[in-house]
């Protein structure tokens, strides 16, 4: 029986990343969906960068920025006593950047679909902008939230290059499933590689099946 540690670590990382990105991505997406600012294309381009950059590029810069000798990395060491590179916290930070577009783009599109109409209606019913956002825009965008969370989660599970650059391969700390599989293959331990790979395929399929089934039953709102 192969060591299942990397599987749990991977799930833990994907869950934490998705949760943090829901909090960070929602305001960014809302701003992008509603702004008339000239900065919008620039911000859109920045949030889409992780889609086009090779993970090694992203990983390289993150490694530089997060290393204990940099300002940010040094500050983290001073505050927490732990380095951001080659640690679980570092992996979370890297995953947040790596998966950002998978949270922002579906949400932005969902918010754009909601549009001005329901928000004006909410304002005419004396709802403050925050009230209208929480009680009208968010529920009307429920499918968008679901899609964004699933894509972010799945994308984080599959990451390899960034993790390797920033986290390395430390069992129990940074050795996620994709890296464990890579190492098994490198060392010609195909049996273990098979178990982990097949497990990941089965797990991913089950998660997606569950969510698409749920999504299909989700009521479509026509206002």
């Amino acid at each position: 029986m192969p060591d299942l540690g990397p599987l749990w670590l991977t799930l833990h990382l994907a869950l934490v990343t998705t949760a943090i990105l829901l909090v960070l991505g929602t305001p960014i997406s809302w701003w992008l969906a509603t702004t008339t600012s000239r900065l919008k294309p620039a911000v859109e381009a920045v949030t889409a960068l992780p889609l086009v950059l090779p993970p090694t590029v992203l990983g390289f810069y993150l490694l530089v920025i997060l290393s204990p000798t940099s300002f940010l990395g040094g500050l983290w060491v001073d505050v927490t006593g732990d380095a951001l590179t080659f640690s679980f916290s570092g992996l979370v930070v890297a995953s947040i950047f790596y998966s950002l577009p998978f949270m922002v783009q579906p949400l932005q599109s969902a918010f754009e679909t909601v549009g001005r109409g329901p928000m004006e209606a909410a304002a005419s019913l004396r709802a403050s902008p925050l009230d209208a956002f929480l009680n009208v825009a968010v529920p009307l965008s429920a499918r968008g939230f679901l899609t964004a969370a699933v894509l972010t989660f799945a994308h984080t599970i599959g990451e390899f290059g960034v993790v390797l650059m920033v986290g390395g391969n430390i069992p129990g700390r940074t050795r996620v499933i994709s890296i464990a599989i890579y190492e098994h293959v490198e060392t010609l331990r195909y049996a273990e590689a098979h178990v982990l790979s097949a497990g990941l395929v089965a797990f991913s399929f089950c998660v997606l099946l569950l969510i698409y089934t749920f999504n299909r039953r989700f009521p479509v709102h026509v206002g």
């Binding site: 004006e120 209606a121 909410a122 019913l125 004396r126 709802a127 403050s128 429920a142």
Partner: protein
């Protein structure tokens, strides 16, 4: 109820469109914003609600300033005490009918108003719809729910943006009585946007005519409808006059309603829900009025009213002339040929009998 003034000074520009309005609207009863599509009616309404921000100007209700470009005041839409009903209802699909009503009710429950949720539901006959989802409602039902939702914000001013324009004729006829009933039942001053003269005639006390982003006329509905110089704007409709008449009785056998107009009796096809003493508004189209210099006999037209010619306006280049006929206090119009005016020797002051076809008084939508 004392009438408050809505003071409007609004300058607003979109590419290819300028809105420039400076008016004081007296707010009691229903004020119609009337004019052709694209004339700026809805934009003005949205500006009053706070959805559009003028480039310059001032908007104030009584002493409450909602917008003032000089004093840099701009009260956000959700803090203005107005209720806005949208053309497309804009009900929230994730909430049911009851949920939509609760959304409004919850946020305005503490405001003073002479009515509560139950009154509004009763007034709009919504009890059977409360458990329904928004997707299952017909167009007319949606507008009723939207109207109720708007009323539950307990507004000081009700803004209705073409609430009937998305509905077919039959649905319109379903909703109109509810709208007509509003001022009496809830006493909230209303601004009603419409490009349909028939709606304006039925609902409005005063009319602000808006075309090309500018006010063209403002005054009592009856006077505006009568004005010839506005016909390029109102012209798609038949010229006519608005008169008020009092119900004196119902003739069940012949299915007629008897009315008193300036001391004369008018008969029209029965309108069931009227009671003696009710005042109703009638539109008499100029082309439905004929004139005679002697009281005619043996004629099918039932309504013959004695009056006098008040004014004659020949229409150049056509065969026709508009003749104004005065009763004691009201006047209406007849469209005759210029030849008839000459043959009968009509001049100002000539006593005449106006012959009005009963069908003219049909109050359903045309």
């Amino acid at each position: 109820m004392s009438a408050e003034l809505l003071s409007l000074r609004v300058q607003l520009s979109f590419p290819g469109f300028d809105l420039d309005v400076a008016e004081e609207l007296r707010l009691d009863g229903v004020t119609a914003l009337f004019g052709p599509s694209g004339g700026g009616k809805s934009t003005l309404l949205q500006t009053i609600a706070g959805f559009e921000t003028p480039r310059a100007g001032r908007i104030a209700l009584g002493g409450e300033i909602w917008f003032d470009s000089e004093a840099r005041v701009n009260v956000p839409a959700h803090r203005r005490p107005v209720g806005f009903m949208f053309q497309d209802a804009r009900l929230f699909g994730h909430l049911g009918v009851a949920g939509n009503l609760a959304f409004a009710d919850k946020r305005s429950r503490t405001r003073a108003a002479g009515f509560n949720r139950g009154d509004v539901i009763a007034a709009l006959d919504l009890r059977p719809l409360l458990d329904r989802s928004i997707g299952s409602l017909s167009g007319g039902e949606r507008q009723r729910v939207a109207l109720a939702r708007t009323l539950l914000t307990r507004p000081k001013l009700l803004l209705l943006d073409e609430p009937l324009s998305a509905l077919d004729l039959e649905r319109k006829a379903d909703i109109l009585p509810y709208l007509e009933d509003l001022p009496k039942r809830f006493g909230i001053p209303t601004i009603y946007v419409s490009h349909a003269l028939e709606e304006v005639v039925r609902l409005a006390d005063r009319v602000l005519v808006l075309a090309d982003g500018r006010p063209q006329a403002y005054g009592p509905a009856a006077a505006i409808v009568e004005r010839l110089d506005l016909q390029p704007i109102t012209g798609r409709f038949d010229a006519g006059a608005l008169v008020e008449a009092r119900v004196t009785g119902q003739d069940e056998r012949l299915a007629l309603t008897h009315l008193d107009l300036d001391g004369e009796t008018l008969k029209m096809p029965m309108v069931g829900h009227l009671k003696p003493g009710d005042t109703i508004r009638l539109r008499i189209r100029a082309r439905d009025v004929a004139l005679a210099t002697r009281r005619p006999e043996g004629i099918s037209i039932r309504n013959v009213l004695p009056g006098a010619v008040d004014d004659i306006t020949p229409e150049p280049d056509t065969a026709f002339a508009e003749v104004y006929v005065a009763l004691r206090t009201t006047r209406f119009r007849a469209r005759l040929t210029r030849a008839a005016v000459e043959d009968l020797g009509l001049t100002k002051g000539t006593p005449v009998f106006a012959l009005i076809k009963s069908v003219t008084f049909d109050r359903r939508l045309i």
